[in-house]
């Protein structure tokens, strides 16, 4: 398992400049800020039900920043704000959660596909996209984010198998956060690790500490190199833990282990990377609060922009099903 949940420092990643490291940090903070603000906005009734990703920021940022701009990202609802790492304005994502059509976007603008709500059904999309790019002789690859529960779906299986058979340049990133709503991964599979599934598809599998942004970055970068070299897909199991409710509508008290949650929160990924950067001397209080401020401001502006949007055109309910 690349990365190390216990010991620090997490170790260096070859070729990463100090700027790169700070960029990773900015991404983590932006995602964390988006998530924490969203929970507040929800409690204020300013957005609808929201799927919290607190603690999954390293898994998301580490993977996306390891890719090229030409590469496409296929998120699940759990990675709803991942477009922010591709320049998508927060108001777009906030609008999605506000049930406003301004929450739709053109995937080509950011290289980010629409948020997939039905579990695992976007895996074949990422595979088809990657396969299609390869057929065109282009070097773009794709990454699909999905959860531990998603591995039980036929759509995951068929997509993964197509990926291997077509040697599609795709990265299947499974965020194993231990839970599918109230269902623990132990009731989802009897496999010792989800990464074991890679064997059955004849593709390489890697298991990483999803709380270690550098470990995720490295694993993803290696998978992307393989993909571009024509060596096909890689299955990455990023081990994280869901420290928050499944979504704002969910009350996990009935099933979650509070102590485990507490422990995991202590070791949460953003603070962990922050401490690392401070030890390296790359981050001080000033820069840290500046980065935090930028993120807060982005969200403040984002919710303001989302809330100042005119109500959607009622005519939309009869439009856009067809081009012609």
């Amino acid at each position: 398992m690349i990365g190390d949940g216990e010991a620090l420092p997490d170790g260096e990643v070859e070729g990463l400049t100090e700027q790169d490291l700070l960029e990773l940090y900015r991404a983590l903070v932006l995602l964390r800020t988006y998530d924490e603000r969203s929970v507040v906005y929800h409690s204020q009734g300013r957005i609808g039900t929201y799927a919290i990703f607190w603690g999954h920021e390293a898994m998301q940022a580490g993977a996306v920043l390891a890719l090229e701009p030409e590469d496409w990202v296929f998120p699940s609802y759990r990675e709803s704000a991942i477009g922010l790492l591709r320049g998508m304005p927060p108001e777009t994502v906030l609008s999605w959660w506000r049930g406003h059509p301004a929450g739709w976007w053109d995937p080509r603008t950011y290289g980010v596909a629409s948020i997939a709500v039905p579990i695992a059904t976007h895996v074949p999309h990422a595979v088809g996209f990657a396969w299609g790019k390869r057929l065109r002789g282009e070097s773009a690859c794709a990454i699909a984010f999905f959860g531990d529960g998603a591995t039980s779906e036929g759509a995951f299986h068929e997509g993964a198998n197509f990926a291997a058979v077509m040697s599609a340049p795709v990265i299947l990133l499974c965020n194993n956060n231990g839970w599918a709503i109230s269902t623990p991964v132990s009731k989802q599979t009897k496999a010792e690790a989800l990464v074991d599934k890679a064997v059955g598809y004849g593709m390489p599998g890697v298991r990483v500490d999803g709380g270690d942004v550098l470990a995720v970055y490295e694993a993803t970068r290696e998978a992307a190199v393989r993909a571009r070299a024509g060596d096909g897909p890689t299955f990455i199991e990023a081990v994280t833990y869901r420290c928050a409710p499944h979504a704002t509508a969910d009350d996990p008290s009935a099933y979650i282990d509070a102590e485990r949650v507490e422990a995991e929160r202590q070791n949460e990924c953003v603070g962990r990377f922050e401490r690392y950067l401070r030890r390296l001397g790359l981050l001080g209080d000033e820069l840290a609060s500046q980065i935090a401020g930028e993120a807060k401001e982005a969200l403040r502006a984002g919710i303001a922009a989302a809330e100042s949007l005119p109500p959607p055109d009622p005519g939309l309910v009869t439009r856009n099903a067809y081009v012609e």
Binding site: Y77, W104, P118, G154, Y255, T318
Partner: protein, 322 residues
């Protein structure tokens, strides 16, 4: 009698039927420890144990497919699909096997499988949490379909489904899950499949609806000058043709209200029935007030999509003009 919400009535039906028949087994995603995302299965795990209230892996086709095998082993599975839109992966099992296996054994073997799911819009949820896919189920041979509009029927129809030797799909309007409350008979309570309910008597026009649209039709009837009869279909398949024909025979006018997309929706079957068997009674066109042939919108627009009393009234005014 107890005053219950619709979802409480569903839970009551499950408690009663599981107590009544130890072969009834409830299975689905998060139905156990969490008691279901809408709490429809709350308390079943503690009361009946993990063998009879099963948290399954996240795989709808696997849920319905294994239910077929469980039925072969003598169980009466009640499968929960977490949301109607997540029942689509199980359409293959439903069409290929659930609706065909009894027939495939020359009628020798029964497959008493119940599939229940929340359905419809009005709850301000993200995409694919507010569809109304009943037409897919109704069109499938070997499948029965019922959609309650109130807590008492929710309990009674689910009980009928669980006791039925045939596969039954029960679609519960999620917008009605928590309100309004209604009086629900305690203990045994069965509403037979195939019987419509006259929700309101009237003489000038018949409003035909089911599920959440019944209240919309009733509201329209309320606001109407003329006298409207409101029929709550309840059981889409088998369908209570007599009730529909009797009412339209009396009123000579019909407006059908359906939340689902219009084309080839269930409302079309009702209109076709009237065009065949009530043609001489009809004094006006049969109008359908429906959702649009466009995906259910982002929820900020859902009230524009879901048929409203105003849209029903417009249609009623049109048919009354004849």
């Amino acid at each position: 009698m107890s005053s219950r919400t619709l979802v409480e009535a569903v839970n009551d039906a499950l408690q009663v039927e599981m107590e009544r028949d130890e072969n009834v087994i409830v299975m689905g995603e998060d139905v156990g420890r969490a008691g279901g995302v809408f709490r429809a299965t709350a308390g079943l795990l503690d009361r009946f144990g993990p063998d009879r209230c099963v948290d399954t892996p996240l795989a709808e086709a696997g849920i319905l497919g294994t239910a077929v095998g469980l039925a072969m082993a003598g169980w009466r599975p009640v499968c929960e699909m977490q949301y109607e839109s997540f029942s689509y992966p199980c359409l293959d099992q439903l069409i290929c096997h659930v609706g065909r296996y009894h027939w495939r054994t020359n009628g020798a073997m029964d497959f008493p499988i119940t599939v229940r799911m929340p359905t419809g819009g009005g709850v301000k949820a993200p995409e694919l949490h507010e569809d109304s896919p009943e037409a897919y189920y109704v069109h499938t041979p070997g499948i029965k379909v019922a959609i309650p509009s109130n807590p008492a029927d929710a309990k009674g129809l689910l009980a009928a489904a669980i006791r039925s030797p045939d596969p039954v799909v029960i679609m519960e309007p999620k917008v009605l899950y928590r309100s309004p409350r209604g009086e629900v008979p305690d203990g045994d309570h069965v509403v037979p499949l195939g019987k419509a309910r006259i929700a309101r008597e009237g003489d000038d026009v018949t409003l035909i609806a089911y599920g959440a649209m019944v209240a919309v039709a009733e509201q329209a009837a309320e606001e109407l000058e003329a006298s409207a009869e409101v029929i709550d279909i309840r059981s889409l398949k088998p369908l209570d043709e007599e009730a529909l024909l009797a009412s339209v025979g009396k009123t000579g006018r019909a407006v059908i209200v359906q939340e689902a997309p219009r084309v080839a929706g269930f409302g079309a079957e009702i209109a076709a029935l009237l065009a065949e068997k009530a043609i001489l009674d009809l004094r006006a066109p049969v109008l359908r007030v429906t959702g649009h042939d466009v995906p259910f919108p982002f929820w900020s627009l859902e009230d524009e999509y879901i048929p409203s009393a105003a849209r029903v009234l417009e249609a009623v005014e049109q048919v009354l003009a004849y």
